[in-house]
Subunit: 287 residues, 2 copies
């Protein structure tokens, strides 16, 4: 297992972590100041500064990417909207290629209309079928572009409105179904979503190096005051991050630890430089 | 599958649903007014009126019980506190017997100290081992009393502070480990905790009649504003309650549908009679 105690070199910053403080160009400058070598940008931040500028800044700073957030939402437009969702996902693949990302992260979508408060139906099994169809269709395009897709299983508390793939086992079942022998489809393991799962260790082993495309870290606060925006900094919660990282590395993962913290109550209110310094420190002490 | 459209006869009221409005004697009177034939009382409510009075009122109104809430919390007092937790659980078994409950519901506990804000350690695997030890010890006593124990897997969002048994599969694994051939240990299936699980149908089938000791219903609201106290009335959320009830009945379950709603924002603020009337109506239309 890699020793992180002396350096934050394996830190990647998911740019949502400081999205309230800075634009993407500002975030990239800040990463350079803090010695952060990798980022995972969000599409809206890239769109705000323009893809060419984002790609140029990444190159100029010799930044690596740990992923690109995000594709998916295959159910967001309802059963008739799969084509529209796919068109948007094709663009996300193109952007990921342009930015040099190792994968496109997929948040697959929940019950159609739930996120917009206009629930179309309650059939989660049908939503899952629709998601698998969407991933299958996207995979034809992304494989041709040589851009791996990383299914991110989200915590079960997001099953209704954000993602109906909710365990690593379920995500790997989809990988095995759609891409049995390939390396075009894998998973993003986020400790926030998966730490509670009694099968997490065995499913990380099952996934193996080929399927483990990304590793996201933050912490689960006890108590948690908001279902979406109350994530904790590593070390402030209950997750055994280092133990899970050990399982990842035993299975062959050797990439970045991507810090992704949505925190409207705390970290989004602090100066961005304080947040980044804390991420670097906590990677060394608590991950 | 039973037809509930004409009658609320298979409704049981978990008494926490109106705990802010009424005492247990008042709740029992109200159930008589609304034709509700069964309840699942909470220990604190029983203690408040006294066990002999609670038992007498249950008998006088010919009420049935669908369960008794609750035992468990085997990790609440830390590793040294298992004896204290067990003593309290033995009393819960005695009370369940006195009240004529068909089972004692177990909320098994999370990481030691997490609920009290004094986390002792983060090792959820160790907490799970401690829980299994606790259930094994309690089972010796409860079996002798002929009081079945119903493990209630809680939603993964409660893994830190309330229960580290979080899927039906995990609960059934514990049943098979501790009570392979017996009927002294089973599960309480609560749709709120389990609706998202892609393996729910297959695990209900696996459980079968012998293990299915209780069935709890309410609804998952989208959005949900509080992790603990924002449960919805059946029909107001996204859960396919009737479909899940169908799976339960196919597997042999023929007991009460117990309504358990914690709702500080809505139902706890309404008149108790309105809540009970709504429960009866929604059992017919939405369960």
């Amino acid at each position: 297992m890699r020793d992180f105690s002396a350096s934050g070199e394996w830190l990647s910053l998911n740019t949502a972590t400081v999205r309230e403080q800075w634009t993407l160009p500002e975030i990239i400058e800040a990463c350079a100041r803090h010695g952060i070598r990798a980022i995972c940008p969000w599409r809206d931040q890239v769109a705000n500064c323009g893809l060419p500028i984002a790609a140029r800044l990444v190159r100029e700073h010799a930044l690596m990417l740990s992923g690109y957030c995000r594709g998916g939402l295959f159910t967001a437009h309802g059963s008739k909207g799969l084509k529209s969702a796919l068109d948007d996902n094709y663009r996300a693949v193109d952007e990921a290629c342009e930015l040099g990302s190792p994968c496109l992260v997929l948040v697959v979508g929940g019950l159609p209309g739930a996120l917009e408060g206009k629930l179309e139906h309650q059939d989660i099994s049908a939503a899952r079928t629709q998601v698998i169809e969407g991933i299958a269709r996207l995979l034809e395009y992304s494989s041709a572009c040589r851009m791996p897709l990383a299914i991110e299983p989200l915590h079960p508390m997001y099953a209704a409105d954000r993602a109906c793939i909710n365990t690593l086992e379920q995500a790997l079942d989809v990988c095995d179904q759609l891409n049995p022998d390939g390396a075009d489809l894998g998973v993003a393991v986020d400790v926030y979503h998966l730490w509670w799962d009694p099968k997490l260790k065995s499913q990380i082993e099952r996934a193996g190096r080929r399927r483990l495309l990304a590793f996201h870290i933050c912490d689960w606060l006890a108590p948690t005051h908001d279902l979406l925006l109350d994530r904790g900094m590593m070390g402030d919660g209950v997750i055994e991050i280092r133990k899970i990282r050990g399982w990842m590395e035993e299975a062959g993962f050797s990439g970045f630890c991507e810090v992704e913290i949505f925190s409207s109550r705390n970290w989004w209110r602090r100066p961005g430089d304080e947040v980044l310094a804390t991420c670097v420190e906590r990677l060394r002490t608590s991950a």
